[in-house]
Subunit: 215 residues, 8 copies
């Protein structure tokens, strides 16, 4: 009856970043801007860190929607980039679907603007085709909380799993020993509280070095 | 297990606007009034824009509930208009059900006042008869958030899909190329942030015209 | 897959009011006190208005939990009143279950304090025995929103329908013509905005009497 | 000790609208967009309705700040319009100050974007030169509530009076009998709840016409 | 430098209730309706309890603003009642000012709808004429919190004291021994939490009567 | 279709407390700190009171995550304590799973930091292995409400029941008569409002002792 | 013009705790209960720590208001304790004023329930008699935020300084070197975040001891 | 009566950054962490950009309070850095006061952690010595909103001006023409919405280059 636990797997996951464009960003009001920008970049950083196949797409870049966030372009210079000529649901764009299928991945990690349209439509379509869908709720933005809550409900009821960038990173990493430095750096960059912990820790440790063994 | 993706289709959808009456509007407190009025009119505008069969109904217009919002009357002069003599659930009104069935549509887009009664009862009854129900959450209002959350839960659990007017418009339109001007005008009218994007875009473009080709 | 629409029926519904006690009321902080008191009394009034079998129960009235709200005692002088000697879940009390079964009703409308315990446990037990359960969310109170949200989720997932006192009244009444005066009075008493509508309506009408027919 | 009551006077007031530009509007997050747009247009409408001298100014219209809201340009085709070439505080712009002084008014009604800069600096400078300053708080927007509260405090402490567009309209009008229709139309256009009251009132009255006198 | 402590005095205070009309009540959105209605009636009850001279006034009762709340009319059948023919600021109405001055009181306790207009204008005018003004913040309502905060600031800066109905009652009463029953009844009627305390207290006491002295 | 009612049973439940570490606590921002600390200690106290098998685990205690809350160490000196060398999901740690299985319990009561990672992963894995999972929502903390809501959705959809520490205590206890003093003490310690009720009750009772029977 | 900086001085300050009674605590709804209880006890602890003269008073302890919080009685067994027989403003009670004057202190640190009555009246009276008044805002509670904001405004305008228990402690202590252990213990007891910092700090330091000097 | 407009002046202002330490940052809960970090770094960047004398100070760096944020150390390698050995109010530290006076500046721009202690005490002391004080409200953090509001009130009443980092930058810069690129870069770095405007602007402009003049 319940959704089975589909666990994110580095070898089976891909990231789809949808319409994180300069103009559309001004529509996002269910996050404060500092927080939302940080979340989007954190998702990008983790996609790169875990070397997940990543696909970028935009809608009407030349019009008022504006260009893709420059940081994303820089982060993924070689990723498939599909500027859609008009399709609102990226799944209606053949090139996009081809790019997704070309990854060979079955777990799609999706984030975008706005949640109830570009994210939800894609999520619903991908679910309908048998993909596992993980919506990154905190890297997806929209007009207000009412809209967000409606669209979360719709996607969840259709079978999507709601996750955050931090949950994605942790579920992919699984064991800190895989790379303590790398994951720590990712967290320190995007979680100020975590960075504070590390700063204090290092300072106290530096002030209290382990005694050298004494002969 | 999950709800399948029922995609809104211009050829298969109808809009039911329930009890958006002047008196009842004073009961709506889960939105600020500017926002709610805008959402209701946006839904009306999209119904007209997509030429969806639209049915209006009211409850006790002659009493304290007050008359239908005048804008709706003007917008849909020829739409079936069913003033219910007493039935709270519009589905209990034969004329209303006949009007719905006369559209031949199977996807019902429903909004109204108040969410947990006139919207929810109708949604639940229509679902029970096999219709697909899309509740426009941001064009449906009620007393407070607690009431809203309860009724969303009840409708969602019964199979309704929760959507917003913007999601409805986008899901129906599917491809901007279908009519860029028309959809853009709809959004500019009802989304101030979108209008700002268009204003800036036009201004910059006007100030930087494409170079005429030089012989 | 979805919950079927179980429609409240005057002939098949009973009301269970659980632990609305003077002491426990001080624990309720997910409503403001004026609003919560009004909601509880509105539920009591509608139970009486629709002549629904109503059962009252309390927990440890003689201790710090305090006595039942006096208004409830006065409202239902002849209703079964089950002071539980210790059982937290009213369904663990044989007398209570007997009283419920004695009503012969299958639709249980439940409200109480606190939501995640006295309401939820009873709801879950009654569902497990095949009753239909309608939780009156706005006449059930608890410590804070986090607690409320958790318990709503638990009850909804177990099959309960979340409703409000106003939805209950409307779903039972079905048609205003059944008794316009009575329902109007109920609403005017418990919904200040509705009363305002009626006050204004009456005043304008009084100032503009229908012309007597002129011979 | 207390600020004396300086009452707004049609013959002595002017309106200064500062930097309501398409780009800057995307920075305003202490209002929802529908509400803020409505407030700004309501202030413009009242300025026109009361025929108050009105001055428009912008900052860097040709750059990212974007052009003035088109509605304002249309509303005040003949008003002094001062695009500032660089001064952040409009009072640092000689043309602007000249335009203000040319009105001969001593009561300055100020609104703009963003509150703590373009509004506050102007308000503080005008106060320092002996003008009476009325800040229209709900037609002035900024990044968040913390910023708003800080800047309100700073302006109030410097002697500004905090008002809203509705208070301004009422204080200028003073007596409904001056023009019932005009003021009513202004309110109906910008206050949905007020419009609802008028719609209901007219409907009930129409349905209950005063009896013609019978011979 | 600071405002001196002007203490409310039964012999020197009067209550002015301004425009608590059925239509205007629908504009009040900075309180939930149950809470606001209770606050207004509590103020009325305390005015009657302390036998304070009370003056009622309305604006345009015959139009959309609607009639005075019926409870107020019933509560003060003999109080001066000044329906203003058009003046927005009640102080502009000679009859109203005469009625105020006829009380001989210097401390004016003011509440009304909406806060930034009918309450604030009256408060500012009365202050300008040397009265002491106490604004009952929780029996005065308006469109939203932004408006409320602006108008509180304006009134406070002009010298008004911000109080609540409960503070007014306590400051007038001064000593419980003056009338324990009466004040207790007032509180129990309008403060559910207080009533709960009294209910529990009485119940426990009744269950544990003081031992009769034993010979 | 609905989740069946799995009732918590003292003989079948175990408590898993995951990563309540001094450093990680600084990440928790969906509760105020006083409230969260109280909730965690309440859960610990109830685990001890009901003598439930309790397992503690931490992640990287020697690094910035910091040591386990000292109160937990003191409370459960003999409980299995599994400092995980790197596994983020405690279920990936063999010792932890062994400890869980060694309890022989099938109902796992889980709380921890942060909700969407250490709690959710463990909950999902345990569900996948057929355990019944009860997530203690108010003793589990994370970065913000958006994250919390996402993770609650994910866990609930996978079959977890969302509960609070108070619901857990009441569901386990079932009948006050099992131990009135003990449960009362637990509540008085962790629910200030409840303690107030008890304080008042005792005081009134002490002042009104039952009359000794008189010969 | 501005209030001069009156700095709290251990030799010149006294603490007045007003009506922190078990029954009245149930009226406090502008704090969550865990937070408020902690704040009150923190104030008590700092009063004891700094050996400030402390005066306790209650209103109608034998009635529904209930007894003083037991922790306060235990903390200050020898402090003047003035149960007021009826005066609402403690300054109207001669014994209380005598007790205050007997301390010889001029800086009064005041906290109590409810803010706008028992705290505000006392603060206003003490200011009127020339005392310096410091209202501990976070150890004073009342019905809701509207009430709180009104009463803060009234007290501040009358010359009171608004402080919190933490600010009071720091302003009295002035220099950590006065007693690092004592102040640290006070903070660790009442600020969970601070305790976490100390726990982590100690743990890291313990794990990394300073190297003993090596011969 | 009102505070005169003291305008920030590049030649007369200095920045004091107080106790922005890694440990203390975990106490800040009146901002979300992304937002607060950004505000603090924005203040640092503007101090550097305008070459304002800047003084750093910390409290107990070697203890749980933790080291200064590393970014601040790097930003101001040559700024006076005063680690206070124990004084809570930086003004009690002679070295700090000397460093302030050595700047020769009279306008002190202050930010720090926590607002009601390290910021407020310093602000109050500096005001008492005749400095002009500008508190940067959004780069100063504390436990919660209640604490923030109290301390803002105290500082404002003592004569401090409440500003934000953005207001400070604009008030110092005065005219965009002074350095369009520099100020724009500062804003783009710290205001995501502003950066979006610039990104879109550049993109549109690039796509629509000014026509070269044609011979």
């Amino acid at each position: 009856m319940s959704k089975p636990y589909s666990r994110l797997d580095i070898a089976n996951a891909a990231v789809l970043m949808v319409d994180h464009q300069a103009g559309l960003l001004s529509l996002v009001r269910d996050f404060n801007p500092d927080q939302f920008k940080n979340n989007v970049l954190a998702l990008a950083d983790l996609a790169a860190y875990f070397k997940l196949p990543t696909i970028l797409t935009t809608s009407f870049e030349d019009g008022p929607n504006g260009p893709l966030m420059p940081e994303l372009k820089e982060k993924f210079p070689n990723a498939p980039f599909i500027p859609r000529p008009g399709q609102i649901n990226a799944w209606d764009n053949e090139d996009f679907v081809k790019a997704v299928k070309a990854t060979g991945r079955k777990q799609l990690i999706i984030a975008g603007i706005v949640t109830e349209v570009c994210v939800a439509f894609l999520a619903l379509s991908a679910l309908a085709e048998g993909f596992e869908v993980f919506v990154v709720t905190d890297a997806s933005g929209t007009f207000n909380e009412i809209t967000r809550d409606s669209s979360w409900n719709r996607m969840s009821e259709a079978g999507a799993q709601l996750v955050t960038w931090f949950a994605v990173a942790c579920e992919l990493h699984r064991d800190w020993r895989r790379d303590v430095e790398g994951l720590g750096a990712l967290f320190a960059k995007h979680i100020p509280d975590y960075r504070n912990l590390m700063t204090s820790y290092s300072a106290i440790k530096a002030a209290n070095p382990l005694p050298r063994s004494v002969p």
